[in-house]
Amino acid sequence: MGKVTGFMEFERLSEANLPVTDRVKNYKEFVLHLTDDQAKVQGARCMDCGIPFCTTGCPVNNIIPDWNDLVYQQDWKGAIDVLHSTNNFPEFTGRICPAPCEAACTLNINDDAVGIKSIEHAIIDKAWENNWVVPQPPAHKTGKKIAIVGSGPAGMAAAQQLARAGHNVVVFEKETRVGGLLRYGIPDFKFEKSHIDRRVEQMEAEGVEFRVNHIVGENVSAEDLSKDFDAVILAGGAENPRDLPVTGRELEGVHFAMDFLRPQNKVVAGDTVPNQIMATNKHVVVIGGGDTGSDCVGTSNRHGAVSITQFEVMPQPPEKEDKIWYGQTGRLSSALQAHTKKAVTVTGRSPRKN
């Protein structure tokens, strides 16, 4: 287990960011992963709790203490094996997960949580660098056919597991590229899309077939799916935005986030998008202080907005949190992470009330 007294000796170290002035000029990722030594020290902070609340906090139940320890031991190969045992795509979560594990971390009760996400990030990047992420085609084929509708992270993970178990898997995707909202909803400065492409390559080698531009219900019929396949998984995601029915909602220039973010992602990918919504030279108001809100702030910045004002309904988090702790329930991560100097956030204000 890490280092017995590590949490008392070492401070939490967040991953380094590229300077703001550099990063707003492009859509490249600006978060750097930890160096080996940094990761070792951060791994040493893990206490290997008798009850690892992080594991429960983690939606995929990553076995966090184990890989923290392996990183501390600098057994990176071991670490990626444990990490991959619960998580097909740690490079996705290591970049864009809101890390409820860290909120649940025992050390977070009265200290700074272990930098779990940054360690995860470091592990998978190391694995790619060392070519440890390789196709794992099944030894035997079962002869069963499975259709998966939707190629977002859920669809991809299901496809990979089923293919490795020996089934013939076909993934149907309505867009021209695989990845769903992961590809189209998250800006590249947070998550470069080459990560998805690498995985697609791996999965194709494992026997997964991707059929893009296939919209089930339009150019593929449900009947055909049930006829041609032994099983169908619906992994279509949730693309309906939540509306804000307030006075003025109907005015021009009020957009859903996805209508703003999706075109920009396509442009970054090299597509041409007609009539793209641009924030260039505009005063921008972002409603919502979560991840999507921050994506809009970052994108507006890169467009060259004159000013950006963000509304957040939750109160300003205190300087030092009062961490009487009620388990993994009841705490939101404060995701004001993509902010740059140009953004102003007004917390505790709901547009509904104003």
Binding site: T106, Y326, G327
Partner: protein, 1541 residues
Amino acid sequence: MGSGMPEQQGLYSPSNERDACGLGFVAHIKGKKSHQIVQQGLQILANLTHRGATGYDPKLGDGAGILIQMPDAFMRKEATKLGINLPAVGSYACGTAFLPQTKNGREACESIVARIIHEEAQTLLGWRDVPRDNSNIAQAAKDVEPVMRQVLIGRGENVADQNTFERKLFVIRKRIEHEVRALKLEDSAQFYFPSLSSKTIIYKGMLLANEVGIYYKDLQDEDMVSALALVHQRFSTNTFPAWDLAHPFRMIAHNGEINTVQGNINWMAARHESMRSALMGEDLEKLWPLIVEGQSDSAAFDNALELLVAGGYSLPHAMMMLIPEAWSNESANKLMDDDRRAFYEYHAALMEPWDGPAAVAFTDGTTIGATLDRNGLRPARYLLTDDDHVMMASEMGVLTFPEEKIIKKWRLQPGKMLLINLEEGRIIDDAEIKKSLAEAKPYKAWIEKTRYSLADLPKIDVQSSMASSLLDTQQAFGYTQEDVKFVMQPMIANGEEASGSMGNDSALSVLSNKPKIIYNYFKQLFAQVTNPPIDPIREELVMSLVTFIGPKPNLLAIDETNPPMRLEASQPVLTLVELEQLRAIDTLTENQYRALTLDMTYPVSEGTTGMGAAVEAICIAASKAVRDGYNLLILSDRAISKDRLAIPALLATSATHQSLVRAGLRTSAGLVVDTGSAREVHHFALLGGYGAEAVCPWLAFQTIADMVKGDTYEANKNFIKAISKGLHKVMSKMGISTYQSYCGAQIFEAIGLNTPFIQKYFTGTATHIEGIGLEEVSTESFNLHKAAFGDDPVLANALDAGGEYAYRIRGEEHMWTPDSIAKLQHATRTGEASTYKEYAKLINDQSLRHMTLRSLFEIKSSGAPVPLAEVESAKGIVKRFATGAMSLGSISTEAHATLAIAMNRIGGKSNTGEGGEDPKRFIPVAKASSMAEVIGASLIERDIPLQAGDSMRSKIKQVASGRFGVTAEYLANADQIQIKMAQGAKPGEGGQLPGHKVSPYIAQLRFSVPGVGLISPPPHHDIYSIEDLAQLIHDLKNANPKADISVKLVSETGIGTVAAGVAKAKSDHIVVAGHDGGTGASPISSIKHAGTPWELGLAETQQTLVLNQLRGRIKLQVDGQMKTGRDVLIGALLGADEFGFATAPLVVEGCIMMRKCHLNTCPVGVATQDPELRKRFTGQPEHVVNYFFFIAEEVRELMAEMGIRKFNDLIGRADLLDMQKGIDHWKLAGLDFSKIFHQPKVDQSVSLFNNDVQDHGLKNALDNQVIVLAKPALEKGEKVIIDLPITNTNRTFGTMLSNQVATIYGNAGLPDDTISIKLKGTAGQSFAAFLAHGISIELTGEGNDYVGKGLCGGRIVIKPPVAFRGVAHENVIAGNTVMFGATTGESYFRGVAGERFCVRNSGASAVVEGVGNHGCEYMTGGTVVVLGQTGLNFAAGMSGGVAYVFDEDGMFNKRCNMTMVSLEKVAVASTFTPGSINHLNQADETTLLALIDKHIAYTGSERAQALRADWENARSKFIKVMPNEYKRALNELAAAKKEAA
């Protein structure tokens, strides 16, 4: 009417009966017979009364008796009256028969007796009725009182001499016993022959000790003469009258307990086929079954001894075989000569030791003697007079002789023997007996000629051959990630088992949904109360893992000239190479051995139902192999593969072992197990315990090879070392010291295996709740096998997560989950009852996840629901709650004191734990202040406000084996004093507080040096037996007559009988702890595999106490993973008055189950001493108060639903519990809780709950007089001088007086010599225990055991009377365990003290003229001067203080345990630089001389004067025993001082 013992019912079983006691003998060395000897024997009995016990009826004793030589004149006189003409003395025998009360039964028995005497060609001379006076015996004893008749038998013509006659009488008696038993008479249990001999006669029964001479009128007859009298007073754990269980038996009287008795009985049975006797010839066969099941351990031992003697061994020879000295550990016992060692080694192959604490007095009528177990765990003192009398007894003072007649006062030493041959008319001392026996035959040459040592055999290459991948194979054997990470990794890295903490909250195996290997269904048994665990580290000299692999020689081959070969290994874990050596043993030993490997796997295609046949096939093959001449069987599961399933190795091993035992073939072959399943200590212990002589864990070695990737030599060595150490621990926690007697001893109980399965494969093992059988066991194996070789993606690259030791998603279920902890903390911090209910639901509703037995209980109504308002108030209920014993040391001051404040606010009780308590906390808080204000700001990291009326005083003061901080003041400030016999997390084990945790504050509270590690020994060194516990209870009651005395036990099978014994030992309170509790650090196998759930232990305790009619006089408390009101309610229904909580209140204080208590890194400031971490503590007394009220309210709601208003009406109502209906689960279907829910049928008047008190008998104490005389001192501080006589029945003298001093004056006490007491005589046990400062006692005479126990400031002087003619320093002046746990004060003994002098002394000084074994063990402070020889193992575990030993013969370094100390010379005082750091900060010579001079002044010691007269010479022979840790601490102090300067 049976024998008086109730039938097996519920959880009570008569087989758990234990006894211990007092014994003694008196004899005329020259064999002069007199009636006086008989009367002296009876006198000893009367004076040993306090070592026995009485039941609910003060007249109901546990049994007593006397053995004497055949009183020929008396017999002849009586025979003449009956018209019988007796032949010459020696040619007739008399047997006292206990006969059934019914005429039919009696006549049936008598006719069998007559017929068999005739068939064996002896003459029945006639019968004589034994005249008795039963007017004063208890009704219960009277109810089952047998009819007693003596049968007189004349020697037949076929019998050559008296010894042959005796042999014949033995055969006759065995045959009679067998035939009477076969009759199955309703009252045949009453039939019994106390004795049938031409040499001796026994009078015994269910009598009080002083009643024996009254009840048996014969004993009053002047013609009743004997040259010896052997007497015994029994203290049994139950009160059920059993006439036959009284001692003496035919050849022995025994004080102690044989821990390995089940194995010994099995091994005796196993010899049946192979045993031959030249002397017995065909008669030998008539003896079987030699040892009948269901007798006491002493009776079984007596049977074995009779056989050996009948087979031709002399009595001392036979005793040396049954209870050998510790011989195998050459490094620890450097003084034994080679011949004697060879004698023991030779006989070790013949007979496994009957192991356990024992003082056994034995006689055949012409010799009488006694021997002591290898560790000296029972007291035995003796004296010789100038008129040829010898008297031996458990304590001195039981029979007084004029001092001027006494020429020697000595004691029996560990493993030693005292023998008196009345025919030769002399005493033969240990050295002579053993020398003559050891040299009688060329044992050494034989050993050298016939011994193959496994280590010396030629090495053989090993081909690694695994049919499948390592991972698949591991999975098939149920390996988890935790096995590798938590279990094996620490073993291969450090050579020892890993530690864990916070107990066990995961599911019992039978309730678990995870596949469990069969090992997990067995729990290790452990010693508590009736026998002591051993410290396998500090007392290593008695431990041995030597194992003999292969056939055992004929036990009765006394005329052997060409002994068979033997194969020895130093410990039972075999490497891969050694296993190959065994396979090829024929070629390596020139065909002396023939090995056969039997395959433990079978085709998967045969399915789960195939396992029974497969096991059967192995058993058949094994028997056939032995008959075919193979003498080494190897059970192997290496053939495991995708297609072949491994039978659980434990199942195959036990089945094979037992089938060979039954066939009488077991001793003809060795049994070795080669299995992939064994990987942790528990597995090896089980395999050994069920018959394996050695085990090769082949897969563990493959796993290690995979883990270390490289040279595995060190890792393998460490693994074996860790297993060996672990085995030592497992054995020693039961008080067993040799693997040889552990092997096959079955020291386990099963939880969740059904009776048919246990009966068939693990015969004799206790199992109480039924559960799964062979089919489910094989299903579990199949499930594992299928998963291993299947395509489960989770198991494709990794082992199963496990989750036993830490909570893991996908792992084993735990009660403490993220959710339950969060809800409990939230509820208690906010006071929200609704959140508490959510928490309670998570714990109580285990409908889907079953973890505890109680999760399957259903609570029934006793009537219509009652309104909540009518139910007893929560305020009343919370008074029944206590927090667990957690020491300040294990948890922080803040966490510790917070619990105390909370418990005092609600009227419950908090517990100090083992670590003393700051006297500042004893004072009630008068006005609002804070913890820091009271205790001191520098000692508190996180302050807690206090209200007026608060108190931080823990009502329960714990007294544990280390006695840390136990002073008269500490005890005086208790409402309850708790003796910790065992703790749930690691019953039978000690502990260690490493030096880095001993802060100055903790050191101060524990009277030790900061930075010096502290060891808690596994046993209390003043409790080796039930009567010792009774003595400690008495001591503590004297130390605080107002406090209740409590004894904490851990649940295991047999706890009920132990508890009954404890109740008879006058405990006011008993705690039954579950196996799962415990916050301290303990080895992980102990957390998981020792002890049982409290539901079982509590129910058994309640049932047995009620059966014994003892329940009313004690309070019963239960603890172990208590979490909710439902837990409390179930505890009450099963019989608890009170409830202990430990983990849950800690969680309320902020604990989040890190399970890192042992690392001092608790991140929430609860279980740590780190000041930085303690700042993070957030607990509040209010939170804890909230918690207990939530619990109480939940209880009330449940009571209202059940229709019960008063809490007392719940207690013991097990009839209101039932098993939950409709549980559909393949493993749970077979469970049966009816034994738990059993209610004994007793009279209405017998209480089910506490409603009475114990009578401690303090009224008669001598201290009452002393306190009156000392009034001027106590009240005004005036000096008083008191003169009194004293005898051995005046026990615990001076302690009540000390309590008065400590109550008024605290630990500082009175000024020196304020109360000065002069006594004459032999003091009873625990003389001057907890003697307070200002009291000085001078005793002219002698002391018994425990003199100066817990001495805290007073002065003790003991010197022999002037009239005594012996040389003081060559005679014993005080018994065993003197000055145990002393903290301050001084003592001077002009004479030799027994074993374990100054154990755990932490600050007192003592001068003595010689000591026994284990002197200064675990000492942490103080100064000891020994002016004569010490015994072995001096200074074991000594970490502080200094001993100065006068090493006259220059051999001290061989007697000293050098593990923790170094030996230095005593430098001349002039070389000492004043002001430099040293022990007591003065020159050693100064310290030493001061003490010697005081010794002369107080005792007039001639020895000391002689040394003083020739001081320069004497000084050079003094050795300073300096603990390394203490030296380091002093050096650090010196360095710090230098730096400061």
